[in-house]
């Protein structure tokens, strides 16, 4: 792959991809490893058409699979993820709020976190989310509805 094209793709995608992986896995340190592995796999077997439009969902797909594998491995080993926001850029003022938000978000299932992030932060359509998460487009609609409802419930319960 051409170095300049890769650099351009990397500059555009690395930071949002890191944020996505960090939030769905709940572990910023793991996000570093997953991010690196994602780009290595991308370079090893790039998509047919190498442009940003094609590359971004492809990268998200690889990262989701890697995060999923890691999650399953941890589950098998009976380990739990560290949900503390340890590496994100933050000040003392927003630490409490950040921690609270992280805790609320971590109460969701891994798939729900991914669905909500892809829909509300990345702004992907159902069809695109289905491609990234390897789901049926109609299932995405239903699952997103459930995830939204669950998060809203958690937010309500936090308020009280």
């Amino acid at each position: 792959m051409d170095e300049t094209i890769f650099e351009e793709i990397y500059e555009q995608t690395a930071r949002p991809l890191w944020a996505y992986v960090s939030r769905i896995s709940g572990n910023p340190t793991a996000a570093d490893d997953i991010l690196q592995e994602t780009y290595l796999r991308f370079l090893n077997s790039p998509p047919k058409q190498i442009d940003l439009k094609e590359a971004k969902p492809y990268l998200y797909k690889i990262a989701t699979n890697l995060a999923r594998d890691r999650f399953r491995k941890l589950k098998r080993e009976g380990k739990q993820e560290n949900i503390l926001p340890e590496k994100c850029e933050m000040t003392i003022e927003n630490f409490g709020e950040e921690l609270e938000m992280t805790q609320v978000f971590s109460r969701l299932k891994e798939q729900e976190r991914a669905l909500l992030w892809l829909a509300y932060v990345e702004g992907y359509e159902h069809r695109e989310i289905a491609g990234i998460l390897r789901l049926n487009s109609m299932s995405v609609r239903v699952l997103l509805f459930r995830a939204r409802r669950r998060l809203a419930q958690f937010l309500e319960s936090e308020k009280r």
């Binding site: 792959m1 170095e3 890769f6 650099e7 990397y10 500059e11 690395a14 930071r15 890191w18 944020a19 960090s22 939030r23 910023p28 996000a31 570093d32 991010l35 690196q36 780009y39 290595l40 370079l43 090893n44 009976g78 926001p85 590496k87 994100c88 850029e89 933050m90 927003n94 709020e97 950040e98 938000m101 609320v104 978000f105 909500l116 992030w117 829909a119 509300y120 932060v121 702004g123 159902h126 609609r141 239903v142 997103l144 509805f145 459930r146 939204r148 409802r149 998060l151 809203a152 937010l155």
Partner: protein, 148 residues
């Protein structure tokens, strides 16, 4: 049929750009208000998810990918040699066996006898080795569990 996807408009609340109709709808729809809350939460949460400054450089990743590709190519190239070594060993043993079977000299007879006696006790050795492996695994498993 039970409605499992909520209000149609709720899926449209995905960007800050809104038309007047959608704003009016949100004001009167509990489902969309909930969706709006989730959208706001996610936006705020994403704004706080800044990655660290020291993400790997793209040049480093390209370099690492090239090295890994070369290693994989080398592994692929070495694989046939490994299988050829196995095939050669099998062929060698078969030839020796065939040769021993056909030749009748005192030394060969002694060798044959030794081999046959070794073969007769081989099942015992196999059972012993398998038992040792099972015991080791079981010990390791219980040790791992106790450490947990």
């Amino acid at each position: 049929m039970k409605k499992t996807t909520g209000c149609e408009y709720a899926n449209k609340i995905k960007s800050s750009k809104r038309d007047k109709n959608l704003e009016l709808h949100i004001a009167g729809c509990a489902e969309c208000q909930q969706s709006q809350k989730v959208f706001d939460f996610m936006q705020k949460f994403a704004a706080q998810s800044e990655p660290p400054q020291n993400l790997p450089a793209p040049g480093f990743l390209m370099f690492k990918a090239r090295i890994l590709q070369k290693q994989a190519a080398l592994k692929r190239a070495v694989q046939p040699i490994f299988w050829m070594q196995i095939a050669a060993s099998v062929l060698f043993v078969t030839t020796i066996g065939w040769f021993l079977g056909r030749t009748q000299t005192p030394i060969i007879s002694i060798l044959k006898g030794t081999l046959l006696s070794l073969l007769s006790v081989a099942p015992l050795f196999i059972v012993g080795a398998v038992s040792a492996v099972v015991i080791c695994f079981a010990f390791n498993y219980f040790l791992h569990k106790a450490n947990k």
